[in-house]
Symmetry: C2
Subunit: 409 residues, 2 copies
């Protein structure tokens, strides 16, 4: 029973995991910047747009020339040219003059507004009839109206969305500094584990965790490295972990959910000069989770059941990967739904529970039904739409209680 | 004014886009299956687990032998061995006998339950002292309890999550059929557009859309193909579109937001034997969106302003890509939040509006503030946290009205 004494709470484990630092930055080309974490502040390098541009198809005019124009009392202006796209009109618009302009065209000097094409008739070859007055600045975007030189556009530590990549392009940033993607080795352990292409003999089981965890690493923005399977042998495990630490930024040992195997793992980590930061957390599922630091790299001993391993990844390891990735602030569960809990669920006080649920749409709204079956049943997580958290301070959720479901995406 | 007559509504455009069919399927290796769309039904190939397994570390026993056991009145059993991991105990558990077993171990014949290690003391080398009674089946997972042979595990058309990849591994599926990822060419058009590495001369503008749209394609599960920039020249555009159609499953023309350029695009598409499905939609931003079919491939004329182009992609093109990807049912906006709208926003009746908003957390809850600035200002979408939809039937949103924000992720 001794091990219960050293269990860390979920919050303690989270706090410990914040002690790891972001990886170094590197330079990538613009077309590889999407979904990377920005390693520098992106400031506006120039006023945007640098000149007044039309935001409509129409005619560049002097607003005072069309004051009072209407359907019944149009104004007539002399058409002196058309603004070429990609260049400027080599002529000033004088009193009583106008020039054709397309969306995005540069407003010619002398003009101060654009009349939309819908409110103009071509009276003659060199004359237009304007049916609507405009104010100075109408249908334009002014220099610096989008962004002023020096404005913060995207801060360091933000994962680049498509629009952020667009902003890089707009400022001619064909190379950009981003944090390195964490390279995460996943190593399955256990005498009973066989690769998926082998038919398991009685007592053997196919390796699920290596593939599920690798997919989770990829979803969290890391690069998985399939580390293979090692038997429960301290020397073999030590040798393989050493190799993998050399090739990666973080190692996840999967399996070894039995006490003996976990002891081997923590001995091995100690022998590598690592310090065990926690070994056992008061969380269900996933109690036997282990975290060590070897050099400056995290080594995680994940619980053996695929379900527990996947939950622990989402709840604890994913935020760690975001941290290594340099991501400074991030909503861990952007996709979530309020729902009512369909069935009383008890939880031990002091323990943080994560319950797999299915969402059901009923006449009276959304309900979250716990998926029946223990952590040993992979189907529980395949059938689930998401997770519900029961805080350590709570003793469970009552039937009909309103809760928040964190969706799997 | 003629063009307004042929505007399709947003709903009509959505309906038209459902006329495109999913791409073919292909076979990929298990470690490339994550985030692909399953092209076959994954059924359980065998009962899972195939044999009864312990879900705890402890001792395999016959439940009737420990009936009534307690702290004060323990039962004594003869320890006849330990179940080896990855194999079976070559011995039957007889009356009064027990065997050590680890989590995941196969229950030996004769035994029908597992007592947790916490409730057992090793009395002597070959004897254990059991302090808790168990019922038959306790601390076990029975054959088929997780999945029964023939159960639907993951249906065709589902995008594979990490747990679904785990299920493939569990059934030894080292190869799996998935839909091809749509390959989407993005071609920028316009005499004024220069590549991001060039300093724009007056009137020129750096190509933003190609990079932003490519990132959106990738986020939607497609493979972007940077198609370069062509000038507003019908022959050049025709030649380049033909080339790109050959290399891709879909082409997006970006730019050409002016009427003249759009007319060129639709003439070019007609000359390729394509039919224009719509040309102009009653949606803001993004009215000048064009959709054609050339052969069985969609060709989209995207609006020229980066903001409009990005909104139209998220609202209309992304679901089209999911469709090409074979994805059968998908929540288009899994990440959303209820909030109150901070500022009255009028919308023309009959027009569907998508308003860029920032989320603000105030003492009285979440508020969504429209980002000021027109579609010509890229900063409006860079600063936004998400979009709010104003339906065609509505004339706007009032101050303080509760709405749903669809989050950018």
């Amino acid at each position: 029973m001794g091990e219960f004494l050293i269990l860390k709470s979920g919050d303690e484990a989270r706090e410990i995991l914040t002690s790891f630092a972001a990886l170094a930055t590197e330079s990538v080309a613009l077309d590889h910047a999407f979904d990377r974490v920005l390693g520098e502040d992106l400031l506006a390098l120039e006023d945007t747009p640098p000149w007044p541009r039309s935001v409509m198809d129409g005619y560049a005019v002097r607003a005072r020339d069309v004051q009072g124009a209407s359907e019944s009392v149009p104004c007539y202006l002399k058409l002196v040219g058309t603004v070429p796209m990609g260049a400027v009109l080599e002529r000033r618009i004088g009193p009583g003059e106008a020039a054709g302009i397309s969306t995005g065209g540069v407003l010619p000097e002398g003009a101060d507004a654009v009349v939309m094409i819908e409110y103009v008739d071509r009276a003659r070859a060199e004359e237009i009839e304007v049916h609507r007055s405009v104010a100075a600045g109408d249908n334009l975007i002014r220099p610096g109206e989008d962004l002023r030189r020096g404005d913060m556009v995207v801060p360091r530590g933000k994962r680049l969305r498509p629009q952020d990549v667009g902003a890089l392009a707009a400022f001619g940033r064909t190379e950009v500094r981003v944090f390195r993607r964490p390279r995460v080795a996943v190593l399955s352990t256990g005498n009973e584990v066989v690769p998926p292409d082998k038919a398991p003999a009685p007592g053997q089981v196919r390796d699920v965790n290596q593939y599920a965890l690798s997919a989770q690493v990829r979803r969290a923005g890391g690069e998985p490295l399939l580390g293979g399977i090692v038997a429960d042998d301290a020397a073999a495990l030590r040798a393989r972990v050493l190799e993998l630490l050399d090739e990666s930024d973080m190692v996840m040992l999967s399996g070894g959910s039995s006490v003996g195997v976990r002891d081997v793992a923590s001995e091995v980590l100690a022998s590598l000069g690592g310090s065990v930061l926690f070994h056992g957390i008061n969380v269900r599922p996933g109690k036997p989770t282990l975290c060590a630091r070897v050099g400056d790299k995290p080594v995680l001993g994940m619980p053996g059941f695929p379900v527990s391993s996947m939950v622990i990844f989402d709840v604890f390891v994913r935020p760690l990967l975001w941290r290594l990735s340099g991501e400074s602030a991030r909503d861990p569960w952007p996709a979530r739904r309020r729902a009512r809990f369909s069935r009383r669920h008890a939880s031990a006080a002091g323990r943080e529970d994560w319950v797999r649920v299915r969402l059901e749409s009923r006449a009276d709204g959304a309900w979250a039904a716990p998926v029946l079956g223990g952590s040993a049943a992979l189907s529980t997580v395949v059938r689930a739409d998401g997770l519900v958290r029961i805080d350590a301070g709570s003793e469970g959720i009552g039937e009909g209680e309103e809760i928040e479901v964190f969706l799997y995406e």
